[in-house]
C-alpha cells in the first residue's frame, strides 16, 4: 500500500492499482474518460514519488507536459508514496 496526496485529499493505493482507480475508490471525483491512456482527461502532475507507466505517455502528452511531470492517472501505478496535483479537481 502506498499513501497518495492529491491536492487536499489523502488516500491509499493497493499494490498494482492505478492512481485513478485508487482515487475513485476513495470517493474522489477524479476526471477521466477512456481509461485506455488515449484521452488525457485523467492527467495530473507528479510532484513527488515514482510511478510505473503502463503506456508511452508521448502518445498523448506534449513535450512541455512531459517535462512538467504530467502523468496519466489511469495508466500510472504507484511505486512509492506520491504527491500529486490535479488542476481540474474540485
Amino acid at each position: 500500500m502506498f499513501k497518495i496526496e492529491l491536492n487536499q485529499y489523502q488516500f491509499m493505493a493497493h499494490k498494482g492499482e492505478t492512481i485513478l482507480h485508487a482515487a475513485l475508490s476513495a470517493g474522489i471525483d477524479f476526471a477521466h474518460s477512456c481509461q485506455a491512456g488515449a484521452c488525457a482527461t485523467c492527467q495530473c502532475q507528479l510532484k513527488a514519488g515514482e510511478v510505473r507507466e503502463l503506456t508511452d505517455f508521448a502518445f498523448v502528452l506534449d513535450d512541455e507536459q512531459l517535462a512538467e511531470g504530467i502523468i496519466l492517472g489511469c495508466q500510472s501505478i504507484p511505486k512509492s508514496n506520491l504527491s500529486l496535483f490535479k488542476s481540474d479537481l474540485k
Binding site: T18, S33, A36, G37, L54, F59
Partner: protein, 374 residues
C-alpha cells in the same frame, strides 16, 4: 471453474477444424466453413447468454492462450498457402503421408479453383478470429511489451499493424464522436464503412504516431516508426507466402488478409453504429453495442462485452463484466456481421434499436446533438 478456463479455447477447436478441412480439400472446405458458421450463429441463438463473472486466480493461462495464437496462425497460413501452391512445398504433403497415411497431395490436386476461392473467405474469417481478435486484446496490454509485439505480428497478417496505434490511442479516445473513423454515422452502409474507416483509420494512426515520434525527437522516416515497422512485417509475410506457395500462395495470403481486415471494419461498424457522445462526456457503456451471447463471447475472448471494454479500456478480457443493461446488438457477432451485409435489413433493424437508444440511453446533451445532426 475449470469450464470457465476451457471455454475460451473454442478458437483452437475451430482453427484445427479449418486446418483439417484445408488438408481434406474439395467440398470439405465449403462444408466445414458452413458448419463453423452455423455452429457459431445457431449456438448464439440457442444457447443464450453468458453473464458470469468468475474471479480467475490464474490469468497467466489466458496470456499463454493469447500468445499461442501466433504459432497457430502461422500453421494455418502455412497449410493454406501449401494447399494452393503448384508443388508439394517443403515436402509437407509427403511428410504428412508418411506420418498418417493420408494422401493430402491427392486431395490438393482434386481441389478446384472455386473451392480454393471459398477457402480464402474461410481462412480470412479464421485470420480475423485467431489473429485480429487476440491481437486486439494483446495490443491493449501496453504495459507488457511482449503482448504488444505478438499482437502487432498477428495484425500483420491482415496488413493492419497500425491498428495497435489507431485503436488504442485514437478510437478509444474518440469513440462515438463524429470524427472517430471507426464509428459509423447513421445511414452509412457497411461497404462504405469498410473503405472509409480503413482510409481514415490509417491516416489517424500516421498522425498519432508522427506526434509521438516528434515528442520523442525521433525521425518519422526511421525504424522508430511503428507504422513503417508494421508495413515491413506484412511485406515479410507476403514474401514468405510467395516463397512457400508461389503466385497462388501470395494471392491466397493477400485475399485472406484483405477479408480479415474487412471483417475488422465490419465489426467496428456494428459495435458503434449510429451512436453519439457529446463533447466532454466520458466514454460509458452506452457508447457501444454489447452482446453476451455465449459462442461469440467464448470464441472471441469476450470482445462481445464491448460496453465494459470501452468504458474501461485497460481491463483484461477475463475481468470484463456482462453489462446486462447496456444497449444490445441484434444477435451474436457472426450473426450480426451477416445482417450488416444486407443494408436495407440492417437499417430496418437498427432504426428500432437507435430509437430505443435515443429515448432510453442518450443523455440530454446527446439528444440535442442528435437533433443538430438530423
Amino acid at each position: 471453474m475449470l469450464f470457465h478456463y476451457l471455454k475460451f479455447s473454442l478458437f483452437y477447436l475451430l482453427s484445427v477444424l479449418t486446418i483439417i478441412a484445408l488438408l481434406a480439400g474439395e467440398d470439405w472446405i465449403a462444408l466445414s466453413y458452413l458448419a463453423v458458421s452455423v455452429f457459431i450463429i445457431a449456438g448464439d441463438a440457442w444457447f443464450g447468454e453468458d453473464t458470469s463473472a468468475p474471479v480467475y486466480k490464474h490469468p497467466h493461462i489466458f496470456t499463454a492462450q493469447l500468445f499461442a495464437a501466433l504459432p497457430l496462425l502461422c500453421v494455418l497460413m502455412f497449410v493454406g498457402t501449401w494447399s494452393v501452391s503448384a508443388t508439394d512445398t517443403l515436402g509437407f504433403g509427403h511428410w504428412f503421408y508418411t506420418l498418417s497415411g493420408w494422401d493430402i497431395n491427392q486431395n490438393k490436386a482434386a481441389t478446384s479453383d472455386w473451392q480454393h476461392g471459398i477457402a480464402v473467405f474461410y481462412v480470412g474469417l479464421m485470420v480475423s478470429m485467431i489473429g485480429t481478435v487476440t491481437a486486439h486484446e494483446l495490443v491493449h496490454r501496453t504495459w507488457y511489451r511482449p503482448s504488444v509485439f505478438i499482437g502487432r505480428w498477428l495484425l500483420a497478417f491482415s496488413f493492419d499493424s497500425s491498428f495497435s496505434i489507431e485503436h488504442v490511442y485514437g478510437h478509444h479516445n474518440y469513440v462515438a464522436h463524429s470524427h472517430d473513423p471507426a464509428t459509423a454515422p447513421r445511414g452509412r452502409n457497411v461497404y462504405q464503412h469498410i473503405v472509409l474507416s480503413t482510409l481514415a483509420g490509417n491516416k489517424s494512426a500516421w498522425r498519432i504516431e508522427g506526434q509521438r515520434l516528434k515528442r520523442r525527437q525521433q525521425p518519422i522516416w526511421s525504424w522508430h516508426n511503428q507504422i513503417l515497422r508494421g508495413v515491413a512485417m506484412s511485406l515479410s509475410l507476403l514474401g514468405l507466402s510467395f516463397w512457400l506457395g508461389g503466385v497462388a500462395g501470395l494471392l491466397f495470403f493477400i485475399g485472406c488478409g484483405l477479408w480479415a481486415k474487412a471483417l475488422l471494419e465490419i465489426v467496428n461498424y456494428m459495435e458503434h453504429y449510429g451512436l453519439v457522445r457529446a463533447e466532454g462526456e466520458p466514454v460509458l457503456p452506452r457508447h457501444s453495442w454489447n452482446t453476451n451471447k455465449k459462442m461469440s463471447s467464448w470464441a472471441m475472448f469476450n470482445l462481445s462485452r464491448h460496453s465494459h471494454h470501452h468504458a474501461q479500456g485497460h481491463i483484461p478480457f477475463h475481468q470484463l463484466q456482462a453489462m446486462p443493461h447496456a444497449p444490445v446488438m441484434p444477435t451474436g457477432y457472426l450473426g450480426t456481421i451477416c445482417l450488416t451485409l444486407l443494408p436495407p435489413l440492417w437499417f430496418k433493424i437498427m432504426a428500432k434499436k437507435l430509437h430505443d437508444w435515443d429515448n432510453n440511453f442518450a443523455s440530454e446533451s446527446e439528444r440535442r446533438l442528435l437533433q443538430r445532426l438530423k
